[in-house]
């Protein structure tokens, strides 16, 4: 035991005992975890460190891109021809749809005017590319190459050509993080396209989706398409989300419904970040207490388009 008049020789000094240091570090880590997971206090530090490590992460991603590009370059001619034929076929069918679209849009506007309904939700969009998927085993997340500078805000929907794939959960200055709809903690309010039956879609963590809180006797069939309902005031209504795969009705009050996502949730590389250009009307005020205002991104002077 060192007493007051005893001093360790400088050669043997090793600072604070390792156990104490371990406890201090663990305490710091736990405080950081709680601050980050529960209160989101560390977003500033995170975004600062994200910018600082950006060059490193770009350098690290380069070999993978190189391998991908090389295999693409040497890919079979037949594959390219097949893809070309497919694209031509798509273009033809799209051209036909485009021709009718303009006509339908005008008709829709007129009919809505006649019925005195409000105009459809307008959207703005930011095209983005998936840089890489976060290798965290516990979540399904990808990183996009567009960030705050391009007008990306937390909460926006991310879609690919076939449907919804996720939601922006974190925005860095030059990048943003998307939580895919297959993540366990991701919920999407949806409705059945056929009859408007509403429900909430949750990820399962392994590539499938689960429609919860739908009564066992509800009108829902295998093969039904589910689209976003837009009731959350964040997602644009009508985005295709998933297709019902299996239904089990013998598990109590609610049915067990498994769905298959329509978009290439785990495979898409080019995506679109979609948002409402206008704020929806605020929800009805409760009788008592502070009225809660929707925390939505402000409308931005982007290329707006009628949806």
């Amino acid at each position: 035991m060192p007493s007051a008049d005893f001093q360790t020789h400088p050669v043997f000094r090793r600072g604070v005992a390792p156990h104490i240091r371990l406890l201090v570090y663990i305490a710091i880590c736990v405080v950081m975890l709680v601050a980050d997971l529960r209160f989101r206090y560390l977003e500033g530090l995170r975004s600062w460190l994200s910018v600082a490590t950006y060059p490193m992460r770009m350098v690290a991603a380069e070999p993978v891109n190189l391998v991908g590009n090389t295999t693409e370059y040497f890919s079979n001619l037949a594959t390219v021809q097949f893809e070309n034929a497919d694209l031509r076929r798509r273009q033809l069918s799209d051209a036909e749809k485009l021709l009718t679209l303009e006509h339908l849009e005008r008709e829709n506007a007129k009919l809505r005017e006649l019925l005195r309904m409000s105009k459809r939700v307008r959207t703005y969009s930011v095209p983005a590319e998936v840089l890489y998927s976060a290798p965290d085993q516990f979540s399904r997340k990808v990183i996009l190459d567009q960030g705050k500078q391009e007008g990306v805000e937390p909460g926006l929907a991310v879609v690919d050509a076939d449907g919804l794939i996720g939601q922006i959960t974190r925005v860095y200055p030059i990048q943003s993080e998307v939580t895919l709809i297959t993540d366990r903690n991701q919920a999407v309010p949806v409705q059945v396209a056929r009859n408007g039956q509403r429900g909430v879609m949750f990820g399962t963590g392994h590539g499938r989706l689960e429609l919860r809180f739908v009564l066992a006797n509800a009108d829902i069939k295998e093969g039904d398409r589910l689209v976003t309902s837009g009731l959350d005031g964040v997602f644009v209504p009508g985005l295709p989300v998933a297709e019902v795969e299996t239904i089990e009705r013998d598990a109590g009050a609610f049915a067990n419904i498994t769905c298959r996502p329509l978009g290439g949730v785990e495979s898409s590389t080019r995506v679109l970040v979609l948002s409402r250009a206008e704020l929806p009307p605020p929800p009805p005020k409760p009788e008592t207490g502070e009225p809660k205002l929707p925390t939505l991104p402000p409308a931005l002077p982007r290329a707006t388009q009628e949806n």
Partner: protein, 175 residues
Amino acid sequence: MQFTNRSNRILQPARPVFVYLSLFFALLLDYVPFGAWSDYVPDFVALVLAFWCIREPLYIGMGFGFLLGLLVDIGQGAAMGQHALAYVVLAFLANALARRVMWFPALLQAVHVLPILLISQVTMAAVHWVAENGQVPELSYFLPSIVGAIAWVPLTYILLFPQFQPVDRDENRPI
């Protein structure tokens, strides 16, 4: 510094610059998006950190674990402090076992390192278990630790390579 405490050969001292560079390079490797392969790729930072915590317990320890952990958290989009906590625990265990592990040949060192790597992964799983209402990972989650332990022997030779150089370059050189 010897190769192990039983070997007769005296190695050159580790250069701090090389130690830092190897940790930096491991961080770079951890940032590489391996995609579908990421289940089989070892956690390079954990491995290299454990290596230097065993080789140089006086210089590399929990502080480095904490800093590197935060940087890995950023790269992986994980909760801030998740990897930091795991690496602090790993560094503490590796520092504590350093004197013992050095008495064994590289293959048996790997047997010591495997539980250290597993404990650091269990720490991360525990964080998720608490934060996400009892989410338990699949068994394949622990595969990177096993691959890491297998990679320990080649890693030992790669990271010790500069120290194997003779003091006098001309000593063993054929004419």
